[in-house]
């Protein structure tokens, strides 16, 4: 199997939750290969269905985002028999998570230095939601920063669309933001103000934001309201 041969010679970058990520060259270009290998803990039927569905959803969502002008890695090739996606490698980049951690080393105070980042993330999320793409796994590890064409600004690249799907429902977009909020606040303590700025940027950039923010508030309350017995 050609893909497996290629992977054997490739450099393993990491083993994320979804699968393994390798670096290799594909048709002369630096590429990242995302391999969703079978998860032995799952029932084989469940595993096959889930893995295939996620591969397909990921590729579809990336393509849809790209058509709308949102920065994501380019999809070079998909091998459906091994559930491998060959993507453009985003070189000279850093995850937003690492970026925040390096500019905000301790949790002491809110840094106004990161306000531009909050604004940028809000704008990009507004764009993908206006395209009815639900990322499904928004975390600061799934956002990359790389230098834009002008050396002074940064470009935000979204990655990891494995849990993504298409939906116009405000509820789904609200949950998408809720997932990010939880991931954000639990990974980067004391960034409540920063996240507020992110939401504000989202509201002003998205045409359908008010319903989404309302749903976000509902979903937040749902978690709080739940009676935790046992």
């Amino acid at each position: 199997m050609a893909t497996h041969q290629l992977l054997r010679g490739a450099e393993l970058l990491k083993q994320g939750a979804e699968g393994r990520v390798y670096r290799a060259e594909f048709l002369g270009k630096p590429a990242v290969i995302k391999e969703r290998f079978p998860k032995r803990y799952r029932h084989p039927e469940l595993d096959e269905k889930l893995t295939h569905r996620r591969t397909v959803q990921e590729v579809r969502s990336i393509l849809r985002c790209r058509r709308a002008g949102i920065s994501t890695p380019v999809v070079y090739f998909v091998d459906y028999s091994s559930n491998c996606i060959f993507l453009e490698e985003i070189v000279d980049s850093q995850t937003v998570r690492d970026f925040i951690a390096s500019t905000q080393p301790s949790s002491s105070q809110e840094d106004q230095e990161l306000q531009w980042l909050a604004k940028l993330i809000g704008q990009i999320l507004a764009k993908i939601h206006d395209e009815d793409v639900i990322h499904g796994d928004l975390t600061t590890s799934n956002m990359l920063l790389r230098r834009g064409s002008e050396s002074s600004d940064f470009e935000l690249v979204l990655i990891d669309f494995g849990l993504s799907y298409i939906s116009a429902l405000a509820e789904d977009k609200g949950v998408d933001l809720f997932v990010l909020e939880k991931a954000f606040l639990s990974t980067h303590p004391n960034t409540e103000l920063l996240f507020q700025q992110l939401l504000h940027s989202y509201s002003t950039s998205s045409k359908k934001s008010s319903a989404v923010i309302k749903k976000l508030e509902e979903v937040r309350f749902r978690g709080r309201k739940r009676s935790m017995v046992g």
């Binding site: 083993q15 994320g16 939750a17 998860k39 032995r40 803990y41 799952r42 029932h43 039927e45 469940l46 269905k49 889930l50 949790s107 499904g136 796994d137 928004l138 975390t139 590890s141 849990l163 949950v175 998408d176 809720f178 997932v179 990010l180 939880k182 991931a183 639990s186 990974t187 303590p189 979903v219 749902r222 978690g223 709080r224 309201k225 739940r226 009676s227 935790m228 017995v229 046992g230």
Partner: protein, 335 residues
Amino acid sequence: MTIVIGFEGSANKIGIGIIKDGEVLSNPRRTYITPPGQGFMPGDTARHHRGVILTVLKEALEEAGIQPADIDCVAYTKGPGMGAPLVTVAIVARTVAQLWGKPLLGVNHCIGHIEMGRLITKANNPTVLYVSGGNTQVIAYSERRYRIFGETIDIAVGNCLDRFARVIKISNDPSPGYNIEQMAKKGKRYVELPYTVKGMDVSFSGILSYIEEAANKMLSADQCTPEDLCFSLQETVFAMLVEITERAMAHCGSQEVLIVGGVGCNLRLQEMMGVMCQERGAKLFATDERFCIDNGAMIAQAGWEMFRSGQVTQLEDSWITQRYRTDEVEVTWRD
């Protein structure tokens, strides 16, 4: 030397345990079991607890071989949980604290589970999967808080299993979850059920409503057996739990997993988590039913940690609350 007595009764289990510097001296418990097809209601549960609590208290003291004078602190479950049972137990805790002249400590139930898990397994800094009838959370410690990384956005996994048990009238003795586990072992056919993971969160109400509707239809059409349904439900919901745990581990860079809470007793869940851990080179920690299921000693243990780090609950603050998030508590006993 510090001896703490812990009172737990937030759901249908009433337990009182005594801990002395990391040693469980006693941990008796009673469970309020309802007939098949029925869940437990707050009023009836409180009544059950009222009926047995003093007997259990006596057992706890006798088994530990200590006198009230030896106790340093009285810990009780402040929340979260069901109102009436929580009140019932808190009243007894307040009363004995005053009777014996000992300080009180209101403990967060979820933290009780975590601290007991840490004590028994000696896990260093694990990603914690807390799964029970009332809670489903993925927790990791960071900067003086047990932060919730992922959780259910609607019902707990145990609640989903318990309510499914009611639909097909599985016995609640010793617990619906245990009986589902035994039946699942005999299941052969995998039935496709909705699988819902949203980032690091999960949702069970969809799969529950699906299986509630489909169960009776499929069973009467002979498309599958109740054992097949138990098997398929477990395989699906447990896969969801393993997945969100794995995500949290990847995000935090953690190499340890600790499962706590009643659903953590389930050997299939432990097995699946073990496979995932093996594939990542991580280590799995789990306890047995003495400590997975709600018990008094876990409250005593969390109380022990809190007390030793200087916390105390004044009488006027010793109320209970049905909603009490794990991340609300300042973890003063860890750095």
